[in-house]
């Protein structure tokens, strides 16, 4: 059974389908040369973004990774603005400066796609430290992949957050691969929740293919974090259906494994359960698909119509403008 009403169920379905179709469009637009650079798609992992963002408050902070289109969309950054960023246009959420890996929107407290693996964790600890020192009951939600757990910055940040009881919700998206290296080929201890507990951070392992489970776990964790109980860790077990990036021939995993995980696809599974629970109707999927298609067509039009930053502005914002100085 799904503990949602019809409206909520449809909203989660919409978010997941929207992210899925957005990513598929990105792949097409990459092939068409509209998007360049590195492009990391979120297909297969949509339940996490949809579930996490549904459970966070507007004044919570989000620190993300380079596979962050889904996080950005679910956080509420308009799809046109995200697409414009990938087109390198001024109308993008980072003014076109960052591209796919560096989506920012401070108005939504979305502190970026960070493309240094684990590089966002210390930043999240600091945002949480600022909240703790200013006695604001806010959560900093910090996404990172399983690969980040091998970095020194992961260990340092987990320890610091636990030591100082900081309000960080650590969200580990375990898609089983650090780029092309499987978890058991780079970690001696592959139980990531157990690793987190070694820092005295309470941890849960959650089915990241189930939007309901994700949302419930985040609500539980965020409530404790907000309540001043210190950091909380969620291992969100998931799988990316597509290659690591557009330059990945996928030599490191076999077709059967991918097909096995596709059976756990978060979207059809949710639809089935929604219909069984009576909160989704047969026509909902088609209606959502139509709505998403129209939105994405608008998004691409918006991005296409966007403007390129004048080269004369190249060095703007390396430092703050003089006039804002004391």
């Amino acid at each position: 059974m799904i503990p949602y009403d019809s409206e909520t169920a449809r909203a989660r379905l919409f978010e997941m389908v929207r992210i899925r179709r957005f990513e598929e469009k990105c792949a097409e637009l990459y092939s068409a040369g509209k998007i360049r650079g590195f492009l990391h798609l979120y297909v297969g992992e949509e339940a996490i973004a949809a579930g996490v963002m549904a459970a966070l408050e507007a004044d919570d902070a989000v620190v993300s990774t380079y596979r962050e289109h889904g996080h950005a969309l679910a956080r509420g950054i308009p799809s046109g603005v995200v697409m414009a960023e990938m087109f390198g246009k001024r109308e993008g959420c980072s003014g076109g400066r960052g591209g796919s890996m560096h989506l920012f929107d401070v108005s939504r407290r979305f502190y970026g796609g960070n493309a240094i693996v684990a590089g966002g964790l210390p930043l999240a600890v600091g945002l949480a430290l600022a909240d703790a020192m200013q006695k604001r009951p806010r959560v900093t939600a910090c996404f990172f992949g399983d690969g980040a757990t091998a970095e020194g910055e992961y260990h340092e940040s987990m320890n610091l957050a636990a030591l100082w009881k900081l309000p960080v919700l650590f969200l580990c998206e375990n898609n089983h691969y650090a780029m092309g290296t499987a978890l058991d080929r780079y970690q001696a201890e592959t139980d990531l929740a157990r690793r987190a507990e070694s820092y005295r951070v309470p941890a849960e392992r959650v089915d990241g293919m189930d939007v309901v489970a994700v949302e419930e776990a985040v609500r539980r964790g965020a409530a404790r974090v907000r309540n001043g109980e210190g950091p909380y860790f969620l291992e969100l077990v998931t799988y990316r259906f597509r290659a690591h990036s557009m330059f990945d021939p996928e030599l490191y995993r076999n077709r059967q494994e991918v097909e096995h995980w596709k059976l756990k696809d978060p979207i059809p599974g949710f639809v089935l359960r929604g219909i069984e629970s009576g909160v989704l109707a047969d026509g909902d999927v088609a209606a959502v698909e139509r709505e998403v298609e129209a939105e994405l067509a608008d998004a691409i039009r918006f991005a296409d119509a966007g403007t390129l930053e004048d080269v004369a502005e190249l060095t703007r914002d390396v430092l703050s403008p003089q006039e804002s100085r004391a």
């Binding site: 920012f104 210390p122 930043l123 600091g126 430290l129 600022a130 940040s157 030591l163 914002d317 430092l319």
Partner: protein, 349 residues
């Protein structure tokens, strides 16, 4: 600019320039401590974070006594996790605080270079101007205490290479006292290099010495024959050399760079255009050094005014060794400055 970051109170830039009648005796170390304490009292958003800054009193005693006075929240002992506590400083700065992060030595700062370069220096430009990082990082630099090859280097040029940072180096008591507040008022990340041999420097400063500008070099001694350009730990050596040169009939001007990024081209080129000769004294290694950058700027900016090629006196290109005689042999020294400058002005005779 983030809604959460507002600019702190404006520094009073003239207070250190106009000496007051009353003076106090102090040390470089105590001047830094006074600056930290003063900033804490003026702005509740300011806090100090680093290894052993609290109970221990700071590895160079720059915060001795502040833990007892200001408490563990604001004088914050951090684990030996340079990357995490520097990154936490960045996050806290974005979150509306005004952190001072202390790194024990520049050699250890390499463990936090990812955060400094990939986040602090990059976030503003990469986010299209949405985020600024009002963070101050202080660290010790330089040799002279026989601490061997992992505690003695001068890597200021690594940081001076990075767009998005400001890099400053106090060499006087006034600057030790006054640069910090101005740095804290800056909306962008500022890295302060404190040469370890300066901490015991002592003398008189104005009792009301306060904030000083951090965007320009200072002429510490006026002269007409040659410009000695130095910063941090080499300023004193350049001044000593200038004193000796005077007895040899050479009138040397001494520039204290103070700001390593951006460099104050106007002061450097203005002086060298007039003296027509320049010697750069830099404790960094010669290859790819700040001295190399300054030399290039002089060549680009006033080549036709020069009477001699720009000279550089840098550290020998070796890891700084432990025994005193070898350490001293590796560093820029006064006799070498005197010799080079004298020959440049008087010829080889």
């Amino acid at each position: 600019m983030s809604m959460e970051t507002t600019t702190a109170i404006a520094p009073t830039n003239d207070s250190a320039v106009t000496p007051a009648a009353a003076t106090i005796h102090t040390t470089f170390r105590d001047a830094i401590k006074s600056a930290i304490r003063d900033a804490m009292l003026r702005d509740p958003r300011v806090f100090l974070m680093g290894e052993d800054v609290g109970l221990y009193g700071g590895s160079y005693a720059c915060s001795k006594g502040l833990y007892a006075e200001l408490g563990p929240e604001r004088i914050r002992d951090a684990p030996l996790s340079e990357s995490a506590f520097v990154g936490a400083g960045i996050g806290a700065a974005i979150g509306g605080m005004r952190p001072i992060v202390e790194i024990m030595t520049v050699n250890f700062s390499l463990l936090a270079l990812d955060q400094i370069l990939n986040s602090a220096a990059t976030l503003r430009h990469m986010s299209g101007g949405q985020i600024n990082v009002p963070l101050v990082i202080r660290m010790t630099t330089g040799a002279g205490r026989q601490l061997a090859a992992q505690h003695s280097h001068s890597l200021e040029n690594f940081y001076a290479h990075i767009p998005g940072l400001k890099v400053i180096a106090p060499a006087t008591l006034e600057d030790a006292r006054g640069m910090l507040w101005t740095a804290l008022c800056d909306p962008d990340p500022v890295v302060i290099f404190e040469h370890a041999m300066l901490y015991n420097l002592e003398g008189e400063i104005a009792a009301d010495a306060g904030a000083v500008p951090i965007d320009r070099a200072a002429v510490r001694r006026a002269g007409n024959d040659v410009t000695l350009i130095a910063y941090g730990g080499t300023v004193g050596k350049a001044l000593d050399a200038a004193g000796q040169l005077a007895t040899l009939g050479v009138d040397a001007e001494v520039i204290d760079l103070r700001t390593l990024r951006p460099l104050d081209d106007a002061t450097i080129l203005g002086s060298v255009s007039r003296t027509r000769r320049a010697v750069v004294v830099d404790e960094g290694w010669r290859s790819g050094s700040l001295a190399a950058e300054i030399s290039a700027r002089i060549t680009e900016g006033c080549f036709y005014d020069l009477d001699a090629p720009v000279a550089r006196i840098c550290s020998a290109e070796v890891p700084i060794p432990y025994p005193r005689h070898l350490e001293q042999a590796a560093l820029p020294q006064v006799p070498a400055i005197v010799d080079v400058a004298r020959k440049m002005v008087k010829g080889d005779g």
